[in-house]
Amino acid sequence: MFRALMKKQLLSLLSFLYINRKDGTRRSGVALVGYVVLFGFFFLSMSTAFFGIAATMCKPFIAAGLDWFYFAFMALMTIAVGIMGSVFMSYSAIFGAKDNDLMLSLPIPPGMILFTRMISVWLMSLLFELMVFAPAVLCYLIEKGFSGRTLVFGILLLLLSSLLVLALSSLLGWLVAGAASKMRRKNLATMVLTLGFLGLYYFVYFKMDAIMNSIVANGEQIAGTIKRWIYPVYQFGLAGTGDVAALIKYALICIAAITLVYALIARSFISIATANRGAPGAEFKRDKLRASGLGATLLKREFMHFISSPPYMLNCAFGTLTMPVAAVLLLIKADYVKAFTGIINSRLPGAQDLIVPVCAIALCFACTMNDITAPSISIEGRTLWIAKSLPIAAEDFLFAKEKMHLLLTFIPAALLWATLSFTLNPGFAGSAAMLLATMAFILFSADLGLALNLNLPNLNWVNETAAVKSSLSALICIFGGGAAALLPGLVYYILHKGGISIGGVYYTLGMAAFFALIALALRAYIKKCGPEKLEAL
């Protein structure tokens, strides 16, 4: 029974390699090899990056006689990466698995179902931990010279740490599953968590050098803190240097942690695994039944769909979030930006005239972060029959999607435009030209996405994320939109080289007219061909 369950778990874990999720067909041998090579490349690239970090830390700490601290630091990193790599899986694989009801209906002890699911999470986390800890051990062996004892202890520490990681990520997954069964605003929580995670990632990424230097400079102080407050990590560090007693203590800690967590989860596994995933029932209020116009109700429906889907929000409306952030940063750094443009103006004659088109291009480029319309038809999926069976004109249905794109992009873009105008003061005509070019570009990108998705829809998806992320129309829209935003810059350069000089404001107005014309052509296409294309879906 155990073997059968493990086989099922492994097949499910590796199915992405040989099954095409889009249409459920088996991948060809070439595609399979391609995937394996791609993952191998990813693994090696990440390992190389961690080797770089290990190399920075290894030498100074060995020189300071703090070998244990080097291992302790790398242990913290291994555990952090292992948890990051497996925590989402622990939730979906252990508690949110689609076959929970089926498995629990079979004569299998629930504890065994839980155990085999935890093993698949453990395998995944082990892969992530290997990516960090193998380069750490390799770096130490290079620095200190090869030692069989260090290698064996390294392997044992990796295996033991993977148990600790499994315990922590399973515990987190258990907490998330418990909270999710009670939470009403799950999408909002997912969105906030993802943005928080992204923010933290970028903060650490940009501050990595400073963090590393600070750790190297304050090594002894940090080592003291670890010794006092994070006992398991301290034991890990000591074990890394070959201390048998520390290895035994660390092993006991890891085994105790995983045993306790398993016992805790096993007690509530059935109730969480079979909990109703829907939001708790809200009371039906009769006064919520109010009439509104068709246009308003279609737009409202688009917004409801948008805010219900974190993948849609995060992948297709990132600009809605980042443009106001950029506007605020621009205000904070206004003096720096003014000084910088002042230097450019003083050194490059005629640069003053470039401010308006450059800012307009930058604004247009920022707007390409939003491709809301690009997967908007695909994400209708199996519910498209509703709009098709109701008396809704295809035009109204399609342009409600365009309206949402315009609203969610124009408002943040206008904020950024206002701060750019305030900071760089390009004059009334310059500001107006910038705004017109941005508005025309937003209209162009909204209609481009819609026209592309009408021609390249993907309505047969299992998970909405696939419709958003694997959308060919979204891909073309992002790259094509980006290229279109930069195109006026290239044309300006060519004209300039050819001795043709156009004033910045006039050029930007030309840009606005260009994008407006293409947008109108795309709108005309959607109006003419949209109903027929939609009917054919």
């Binding site: 919520k288 009439a291 889907s309 519910t383 069976s389």
Partner: protein, 241 residues
């Protein structure tokens, strides 16, 4: 109310519906029966204006579904066999959306929802997200939404699947009520006993072609609908061989 003339629809090489003719008058309930893959859903989807068809014409209250689709859709309602509804909405939000599309007034929608949601026993669940609904609850919600604008013609694909006995009973009563008020209903079903008791007319389809069509008495005579259907199936199999 519904006139289907020489309807043909192919999926690649396969002819799903072949030269189908059918006429349902106001006040009639017409049952549509046939084996799996016979062409029932294709016919219903074409009549609802969801599916394009190559040949033939479909008229709803005298208007062509091809040339005046919105006018046709305004007076009819379609219920699919598997109601995939907007899972990002609550029940009440979905009903509000459908009512807005049909321009149903606030008072009228409140009255209709009180009546039909009460009859189907989902009034208490309307505040919940549709994602938490069972198949039967989704089916009931889709039925309530279909009845909001008092349709003259209802097209339903297996409407009784997933409904509990009480809701099935309510639906049968509502169907009769609609037809008594001059509406018409065309629905597919595999439950022949229901079709026999409920329908004024019956259409039997086999491999895309209509093999028997008429009033219930004309079609079944002294036999049961089940016997007639099985005989036709056997005949069809024999001819096929």
């Amino acid at each position: 109310m519904l006139r289907i003339e020489n309807l043909s629809k192919s999926y690649g090489e396969k002819k799903a519906v072949d030269d189908l003719n059918l006429r349902i008058a106001p006040g009639e309930i017409c049952g549509f029966i046939g084996h799996n893959g016979a062409g029932k859903t294709t016919t219903l989807r074409a009549a609802a204006g969801i599916l394009r068809f190559e040949e033939g014409e479909i008229f709803v209250d005298g208007k062509s579904i091809k040339t005046e689709p919105l006018e046709c859709k305004r007076i009819m309602a379609y219920l699919p066999d598997n109601p995939d509804l907007y899972e990002y909405m609550t029940g009440v939000q979905y009903l509000n959306f459908v009512a807005d599309v049909f321009g149903v007034s606030t008072e009228e929608r409140r009255r209709a929802i009180d009546k039909y949601a009460g009859e189907f026993g989902i009034a208490e669940n309307l505040g919940q997200g549709i994602s938490s609904y069972s198949h039967g609850m989704k089916q009931k919600l889709a039925l309530v939404s279909a009845l909001l604008h008092k349709p003259k013609l209802m097209l339903m694909d297996e409407p009784f699947v997933g409904l509990d006995p009480r809701a099935s009973h309510s639906l049968k009563e509502i169907m009769r009520e609609i037809c008594d008020e001059g509406g018409a209903i065309f629905f597919s079903t595999h439950v022949l006993e229901v079709a026999e008791k409920l329908c004024d007319k019956v259409a039997i389809i086999r491999q895309g072609a209509l093999v028997k069509y008429g009033s219930m008495e004309e079609v079944k005579g002294d036999e049961s609908l089940e016997s007639v259907f099985l005989e036709l199936e056997e005949e069809g199999d024999a001819n096929h061989v």
